[in-house]
């Protein structure tokens, strides 16, 4: 924890994510459950961080905290230097839309939309015009190698293909941070490798900050830094 704070001081202008003593406490019956128990960490721009830990350790909660989907019970979360607790719901929405991309374990594509339209969705929410949107969505599908499948609906795509569409969607608004929650958790080894290669290539070539939650050592092997978490506390990294 101390180490993290020192690092934070030295490199503030490159810091995209900073958590300060974050708690997430659920009350179930008479018992308090600390999903996050005083977590502090920082992530620098362009880093590739793997968050590892057993299930129930709080790693997904941590990721949701960073993605502004969840609010801490105590402590503060800074994204690009902005204290997210001061933002309104609409400002948080804009932050998620423009600075953060999500890749989910279960892909979570919208079943009624084609691959192309799924990628367009975040740009629609941003209010981009039709041509611009289509052009960019096609380019992104090309990056993940799915330009030929662009008119298919999610149920016509394999798991690996769906996850690649998910990545393209996460990149739609050119975010600085990509948050991936078990991105290969539902994929076979081969598809998982393809997905991880795409992600690490994005990190290497485009400088996208990657934060990946996983319990798969093969995935964390791609990362340059691994944060280990157990019982809501960071035990390493």
């Amino acid at each position: 924890m101390k180490k993290a704070r020192e690092k934070m001081k030295t490199d503030t202008n490159q810091e995209v994510v900073r958590l300060e003593d974050v708690y997430k406490i659920y009350i179930t019956g008479n018992e308090e459950v600390h999903a996050l128990d005083g977590v502090s960490m920082t992530v620098q721009k362009g880093e590739f961080v793997a968050i590892m830990g057993p299930s129930g350790s709080g790693k997904s909660t941590l990721l949701n905290m960073i993605g502004c989907l969840d609010k801490p019970t105590k402590g503060r979360v800074f994204i690009n230097g902005v204290d997210t607790s001061t933002l309104t719901d609409n400002e948080l929405t804009r932050l998620r839309r423009e600075a953060i991309g999500f890749v989910f374990q279960h892909y979570n594509l919208i079943p009624t939309l084609t691959a192309l339209e799924n990628v367009e969705l975040p740009m629609i929410f941003r209010g981009l015009n039709d041509d611009e949107r289509k052009r960019r969505a096609m380019e992104l599908l090309r990056i993940v190698g799915l330009e030929r499948e662009m008119n298919r609906k999610p149920n016509e795509l394999s798991g690996g293909q769906q996850q690649r569409v998910g990545i393209a969607r996460a990149l739609a608004n050119d975010p600085e941070i990509l948050l991936c929650d078990e991105p290969t958790g539902n994929l076979d080894t081969k598809s998982g490798e393809i997905v991880m290669e795409i992600l690490s290539k994005l990190n290497r070539e485009r400088g996208v900050t990657l934060i990946v939650v996983t319990h798969d050592p093969a995935v964390s092997g791609f990362a340059r830094r691994t944060v280990r978490i157990r019982d809501g506390r960071i035990i390493e990294g």
Partner: protein
């Protein structure tokens, strides 16, 4: 694009959407058809009164103690310049006899030209001197023909004409009456004054001025006569029919209410089913307002499709009700039908959107993290 999204969500649960649309179709059809029928009914009834709107009926003021209108009052009215016609009428009930049949009828005394102006003659001539003109019902009842001889108050009168059947009328319904010339009437009943004066104005706008004149010249000291305008009666009828219409539409509106509840129901279901999807959309940058908009568009689409279909079908519905009840559909394609349809359609759309509001609000209020975790 949001509209497109809404459309696809509706197609995704096709059966459910169709059922919701059917609900709206039925509701709008009920409202519009009844509206169309109601307007048709009103027009059919008013049709009989359109050409008498400029008529004014003057009767004695019974509450003022007058049973007849004085001759002087009549001559005062005759001086008013802007009258198209003025018909003084006397009337009395009396026992008449034809062959061995006796009956009480209302007997009117008026000039020949007044008879011609007020009524249509079916058979015979309207010559009125020692003769009489009888209404169609009376003629039928007593088996009268032109030339039949009737005894009235002991005097014998020959039937010179039989009138056409009239049906409902506000001034004088001649169907069950007998008409004598004023002179014969006076000889028989020896009455002074008139029981009614029918006045036709040249211009409908003169009614207020005419009423004022009557008040000043005849009713200045005491109320001797009363003035009834046909215009007021027509307005009353219109008003009454509008109220009946409103009542019927309100009853029909219940079916639209049910349709609204079914939309509420299916949209709450899809909000639940799509909770996770809502979470995803929130995560990738949809604001609460956007989520709300997508759901409201769904309700709007259901409402629009159902209402437009219902509006078109209501022409058919209106046609059948009109044929069944009025035996004629000539008032089907009118401006008021169009208004009824537009009214029904807008009620349908508004109902759908209002019903969609709560589910849409509920969807928009979901916390992204809770929605994403939902399985």
């Amino acid at each position: 694009m949001y509209l497109e999204l809404a459309k696809r969500n509706l197609i995704r649960t096709k059966m459910r959407s169709i059922l919701a649309i059917i609900g709206i179709v039925i509701g709008v059809m009920a409202i519009s058809s009844i509206g169309i029928f109601g307007e048709g009914l009103k027009n059919t009834v008013l049709e009989n009164f359109r050409d008498v709107a400029n008529e004014v009926i003057i009767t004695p003021s019974y509450s003022g103690g007058y049973t007849t209108i004085e001759k002087t009052s009549l001559s005062k009215l005759e001086k008013v310049p802007y009258l198209e016609s003025i018909i003084p009428v006397k009337s009395e009930s009396a026992l008449i006899q034809y062959k061995d049949r006796k009956t009480y009828v209302r007997i009117y005394g008026m000039e020949r030209r007044s008879v011609e102006e007020l009524f249509e003659i079916e058979r015979g001539s309207s010559k009125l001197s020692g003769t009489c003109v009888v209404g169609s019902t009376l003629a039928e009842r007593l088996n009268l023909r032109v030339g039949s001889k009737i005894t009235i108050e002991g005097e014998l009168f020959r039937v010179s004409a039989i009138l056409k059947e009239e049906g409902a009328r506000f001034d004088i319904n001649p169907d069950n009456t007998l008409i004598l010339s004023e002179k014969d009437y006076d000889d028989l009943f020896k009455t002074e004054g008139y029981s009614m004066i029918l006045v036709k104005l040249e211009n409908l706008d003169d009614i207020e001025q005419f009423k004022e004149t009557v008040e000043k010249s005849i009713n200045s000291r005491e109320t001797k006569v009363r003035v009834f305008e046909m215009k007021t009666i027509i307005e009353r009828i219109t008003e009454a029919f509008n109220q009946i219409n409103l009542f019927l539409i309100a009853i029909a509106g219940v079916s639209l209410l049910v349709a609204g509840v079914s939309i509420l129901n299916i949209m709450l279901m899809s909000t639940m089913e799509r909770t996770k999807e809502i979470g995803v959309m929130r995560a990738v940058g949809a604001s609460r307002q956007t989520i709300m908009r997508i759901f409201l568009y769904e309700a709007l689409l259901l409402g629009l499709i159902g209402s437009i279909m219902g509006g078109i079908l209501s022409l058919l519905g209106g046609y059948f009700i009109m044929i069944a009840i009025l035996q004629s559909a000539k008032y089907l394609f009118t401006i008021s039908s169009l208004i009824s349809i537009l009214q029904g359609v807008s009620f349908g759309v508004v109902t759908a959107v209002i019903s969609g509001f709560y589910p849409a609000f509920k969807a928009s209020k979901l916390e992204p993290i809770d929605a994403l975790r939902y399985e």
